[in-house]
């Protein structure tokens, strides 16, 4: 079965068969909602993934309550593997900084969670702002605006606190370079055109999309503040057709 599956989907990493669900039980993730006499579903795990250290210690794990939504391997790699090149990148240039926004993959399936990495490099003597921050300054953020995306998050490192003498205020700032990592969840779409699924979510047509986003920041030096800026960008993303059912055993 796995041979047929890995050939059909061109999978070259090891796909392991856990006959009798021994490893699934040892991990404590056997789906115990399924009764033992259920021929089709008994033995399946609650689906999820673990990132392990070389000695087998859990570094990060992702289990989601709903199986329609799944993390992508590229998202995990973007977070944890240095210099991982996954998907498309866009460069943003402004007077006092340069930034890149990178996605963990350039193609996705509906319901997948992708990674996003924002890197900002500031000119010497200039800073941008982090949180917490008084309302009259612009905190640095990155927001995607696309019908494809139904959840997003971005985590910045802790900012430094800096006393700005000209302003007489102690503010949260980033200087030099800053890297923020986040997640983008691609909306789930029914894999089959059936009314009971289409009532839950509208279908996403496969094809090439442009995902729009906005980077907002305010650059200041110790003596001067620029106006808050909003820079819009787009990143191409290909949505694959829903995953076809696994190939059946030849009759």
């Amino acid at each position: 079965m796995l041979n047929r599956f890995s050939t059909a989907y061109k999978i070259d990493f090891p796909m392991l068969s856990d006959l009798g669900s021994k490893v699934i039980r040892a991990f404590g993730i056997l789906n115990t909602n399924v009764p033992e006499d259920h021929k089709m579903m008994y033995g399946m795990p609650w689906p999820g993934d673990y990132l392990l250290t070389p000695t087998g210690v859990v570094r990060e794990k992702t289990f989601l309550r709903s199986y329609e939504y799944r993390p992508s391997a590229s998202q995990v790699l973007l977070r944890h593997v240095k210099d991982f090149k996954g998907g498309n990148t866009v460069s943003i240039e402004a007077d006092m900084l340069e930034a890149t926004v990178a996605l963990s993959a350039d193609r996705c399936f509906p319901g997948q969670e992708l990674g996003v990495a924002l890197k900002i490099g500031l000119k010497p003597g200039w800073h941008i702002y982090g949180s917490p921050l008084p309302d009259n300054y612009q905190v640095t953020d990155l927001i995607f605006d696309s019908d494809l995306i139904d959840e997003q998050s971005l985590e910045f490192p802790a900012p430094a606190r800096k006393l700005l003498k000209a302003l007489g205020e102690n503010l949260s700032v980033y200087e030099g370079s800053v890297r923020a990592l986040g997640k983008l969840r691609v909306r789930w779409s029914p894999p089959m055109p059936v009314p009971f699924l289409e009532a839950i979510a509208t279908t996403i047509k496969p094809g090439l999309y442009q995902i729009g986003g906005t980077l907002r920041f305010q650059a200041c030096s110790d003596t001067v503040c620029e106006m808050p800026q909003e820079i819009k960008f787009t990143l191409p993303m290909t949505v694959e057709a829903g995953i076809p059912p696994a190939p059946k055993k030849p009759a």
Partner: protein
């Protein structure tokens, strides 16, 4: 949702998908999803060592956990089925 209700829903939906029952409605489907996922567990916690194992792959080759490790470790994905 109690154990007996989950079992009844999981059995019932498969019969209906096979064409042996009434048409599936959206509430039926949401109950089916709930019956599978309610009370889900996630196994070893961050910082825990996972159980060792040896399993065969799609080509019949046997792998122990330590054989699968790369320099950055391993991404281990548990999938529900390769058959449906």
């Amino acid at each position: 949702m109690d154990v007996a209700t989950k079992a009844q829903i999981l059995h019932g939906m498969i019969a209906r998908m096979g064409g042996g029952g009434a048409p599936i409605t959206t509430p039926d489907w949401l109950d089916f999803v709930e019956a599978q996922n309610d009370g889900y567990r996630t196994g070893p916690e961050v910082g825990d060592k996972v159980p060792d194992f040896t399993l065969s792959d799609q080509n019949g080759k046997s792998w122990a956990l330590h054989d699968l490790m790369g320099p950055n470790g391993l991404l281990l994905v548990f999938s529900r089925s390769a058959d449906w």
